[in-house]
């Protein structure tokens, strides 16, 4: 699963030919690979207009927030529950930040037009990084070990981190650059926390 996030980052960075190994090391050793959510990680086509980028980021943050909120509810492990609640609040803050940024960039107050007039939501449900549906990811998470769930979260956060690094380069104003820089730093921080918890659960 992490390899698909990696492949997505490399393809997005202009690597000519990239393949991820289905099933990872387990498949290599001949062990049965666990099912991975079908949508998997996907290569992100950068949005071109700043307003589009902000709307896309907002929608993805909203998806991540809902995913973390549901995970916090189903978690038995207290440390994991606390972490997911924390991450949920952080993504909520990111939404507010992006909302304000849209106002600055467009010179308009975000009303009902944002974000769905800029980028229509997916009719089948909320979407997260990599184009994965929140509902699919939650269904997959049920009954999975914490380690496997953390691996999915690490993949998602890596893609978010990468997305904000790209957006920072693409936008032109210093203010917008600063916003994306801050967001990427915070996603990196999420990533470090998740990775540390993952390390304890290997």
């Amino acid at each position: 699963m992490r390899s698909r996030a990696a492949a997505s980052i490399l393809t997005g960075a202009g690597f000519q030919e990239v393949h991820s190994m289905g099933g990872g090391m387990r498949a290599w050793k001949g062990l049965v690979a666990e099912g991975i959510p079908e949508a998997g990680m996907a290569y992100f086509t950068p949005a071109t207009r700043p307003e589009e980028m902000v709307a896309l980021a907002w929608l993805l943050e909203d998806g991540m927030r809902k995913f973390y909120e549901s995970l916090a509810q189903i978690m038995q492990d207290q440390e994991a529950k606390g972490t997911f609640e924390n991450l949920k609040r952080s993504e909520e803050n990111h939404k507010t930040t992006l909302w304000k940024l849209f106002e600055e960039i467009s010179g308009r107050t975000p009303t009902h037009e944002f974000p769905n007039k800029v980028i229509p939501a997916e009719p089948r449900g909320d979407v997260m990084e990599g184009g994965m549906l929140v509902s699919e990811a939650l269904e997959w998470s049920r009954g999975k070990a914490l380690k496997d769930i953390l691996e999915l979260c690490i993949s998602l956060e890596t893609n978010s981190y990468d997305l904000y690094l790209k957006m920072e380069q693409k936008v032109e104003t210093n203010k917008a650059k600063q916003v994306f820089k801050t967001l990427s730093e915070e996603e990196k921080n999420h990533l470090d926390r998740l990775t540390s918890m993952f390390g304890k659960n290997i």
């Binding site: 290599w28 184009g131 690094l165």
Partner: protein
């Protein structure tokens, strides 16, 4: 146009296909990257694989030749 139009799927190869590919090529002809954590890498990895944990990848792209076929696991 929906949010999903911003995503395109990445290529996935089976372990067998990757085994064949690695057997047919010289090690200088491709990038082979292990994106797991160091602890997992130490427990076993593919011969010649370079360790770059996925979270570090966006900052370490310069270590890889983007013109060579790249396999990640």
């Amino acid at each position: 146009m929906s949010i999903l139009d911003y995503f395109k799927p990445v290529s996935t190869w089976s372990a067998e296909k990757i085994r064949d590919f690695l057997n047919q090529k010289n090690s200088g002809e491709y990038n082979l990257v292990d994106v797991r954590q160091p602890e997992e890498y130490e427990q076993g990895h593919l011969p010649g694989a370079r360790l770059i944990p996925v979270g570090e990848l966006p900052n370490r792209l310069a270590e890889l030749d983007r013109n060579k076929p790249t396999i990640v696991y």
